[in-house]
């Protein structure tokens, strides 16, 4: 069974100009351990597709099954819990909690899951070491560079050992060196922890490192390789 299975997913937004079909009948599946990039021009539906896979947005039609569980059928409350237990998120703008240190940010999801303080700090430190930021564990986000913040965000996404990580243009705000470092780290974690990564991106450096590429145009997959 595929880790993620999409069947004829359609998402239509209503606007004053009329209906906009952001995702137009996409069917695809993602296996465990994939390192996949969803690419395409702006407005092609990359983010909408990731939102739907991540349970942040409900499709108008079609099913999204994660390990056989149809997430569109879950109630809002259950969906929040599903995200907490199964999905890691990395955002374009890092979105760390400014009042928490790198260690606390990394451990935050484990805290939400009710993991003991000792256990979550050990896991958070392990991940900060993996992303090369153990020495910055007690720094707050405003004391870190953009690249460092995004590495903390990756550590946070992986802290709870999610079934997969969704990353929306994770390198969009990073310079070349930070991008390379981040990609090395994610590729390494993908290998080491067998974590599934799905990116949306139009950054050629990310596309070069992806092992699978889905090309989207006008809400449809036009190429898969």
């Amino acid at each position: 069974m595929a880790l993620i299975e999409l069947k004829n997913v359609i998402k239509v937004y209503k606007s004053q100009a009329g209906n906009v079909t952001a995702v137009d009948g996409i069917s695809a599946s993602f296996e465990e351990g994939e390192f996949t990039a969803i690419v395409g021009p702006s407005g092609c539906g990359k983010t909408t597709l990731l939102n739907a896979i991540g349970g942040l947005d409900r499709p108008n039609q079609g099913t999204i099954k994660i390990e056989g569980q149809d997430i569109a059928a879950l109630k809002d409350r259950d969906l929040i819990d599903f995200r907490l237990q199964n999905i890691g998120f990395v955002f374009q703008a890092y979105n760390l909690i400014p009042v928490l240190t790198a260690l606390e940010n990394t451990a935050f999801i484990l805290e939400l899951q009710g993991v003991s303080k000792k256990e979550r700090e050990a896991r958070a430190m392990e991940l900060l070491e993996a992303v090369g930021l153990a020495d910055r564990a007690h720094n707050r986000p405003n004391q870190l560079s953009g690249g460092q913040q995004q590495r903390v965000a990756v550590a946070r996404a992986l802290a709870s050992r999610p079934r997969f990580v969704l990353a929306d243009e994770p390198t969009a705000n990073l310079d070349s060196r930070s991008t390379e470092t981040l990609l090395d780290i994610m590729a390494n974690l993908n290998q080491r922890e067998k974590t599934t990564f799905i990116f949306s991106t139009h950054d050629p450096r990310v596309i070069d490192r992806a092992r699978r590429i889905l090309l989207l145009e006008d809400g449809k997959i036009v190429m898969s390789k």
Binding site: T47, Q92, N95, F108, I109
Partner: protein
Amino acid sequence: MAWRNIWRSPWRSAVVIGAMALGVWAGIFMMGWATGLNDSRTVSMLDDNVGHGRLLSGSFDESQEISAPLPALPLFLETLSTDTTVTAFAPRIVIQAMAQSGSGAAPVMIYGIYPNAEQSVFSSARKIPEGRFLEDLFADEVVIGQELAKRLEVGVDDRLVLTFQDVEGDPHTALFYVVGLYDGASNMLEETLLYAPALNMAQQTGLLDSSAMASLSGSPPAFPVAHEVCFRVQDPYAMKPTLERLSIQDGLRLEQVEQRSTIHSLETLAFISTPIVIKDWRSISPELAYADNVMAQSLLLFMTIILLAMAFGILNTMLMAILERTRELGMLMAIGMNRRRIFSLIVLETILLSLAGLPIGLLLGHGTLVLTSQTGITFESVEQGLAEFGMDATIYPVTVPEFYLPIAALVFVLAFLSALYPARKALKLNPIESMRVL
């Protein structure tokens, strides 16, 4: 995390905490000041004229009939004099009358008093700025209040005509000389109450007949007749045991009257078998008791209004905080923070923000009250107005620790209520719209 969130905007939070501290300080100070004002007025009125307790016959209490003196007076005077909690007592004859001078007339209440006893209980009998107090129990002399003297345009050594009813209900007019003016705690009382010698009034009203009067010429009892006996106790706020002892004494007396009923005429029996009425100052002067009772409630209401205004400020601050953190709240929801946790976070932040100012305000308020309770606060500009209500121009606020816990609870409840709307706003956020990305 909630505590750290408060300090994202240190200045804004400091202003809110400072405002809360200031509001609590002002409220506490007002409470201490108002309680001090009320206590001052109560003590002043009790000392001046009301006394702490009073005994009177049931029929006199109902009708103010001059012919209903207190039965078994010696028995009760002995009880009072042996009671260790009673510090002084003063028997009085009470007569409603009309006072006339060459310039006018005024309705008055004559207190037929035994001077030494009266002075031991009431301060108004001791404060005689002009002339002297009464000395002779039979003299045609009166001491009147300064306000009544002004109204009737009389002074020391002037004459005053008093018209009143005797025990038969017949009108009686007598001429008296003003020998002194007293300074009462209240202008209203100064205008209506005057002192005359007890035995003179007893004779003129017929409370003591000629044979009784003749018997007084030998070795008279100290207090042969009275309508009421006023008394002072050590603590006017703890006089229940004293009242109970007096009540038991009256019960025993009535039992004895019943056993010996055959030896009395019906008229005498009716008189001596009248139960006495025992009053504490709360029932003598219901307005003082009322002020005392409603004071706490009024002060808490006042505090609630202050804190309610503060709550709106806190609500506004939290709304701004939610608005500024829309993106972050959306992210928290996206990564799996459920509604209950978001709600708890906002409520906790609001409560912490509100409670942070509370101890500062309480400490400042308490400190101010401790200081001013020693120095007092003088309101010279309204001295006369305060005197009208029997109060001194210098008010001594008192500390009010009994209110601190209710105030803390009030702040907590209002903080919780003011958190509800911002929390509801936060819960309505949509993660995608809030973040605008993923």
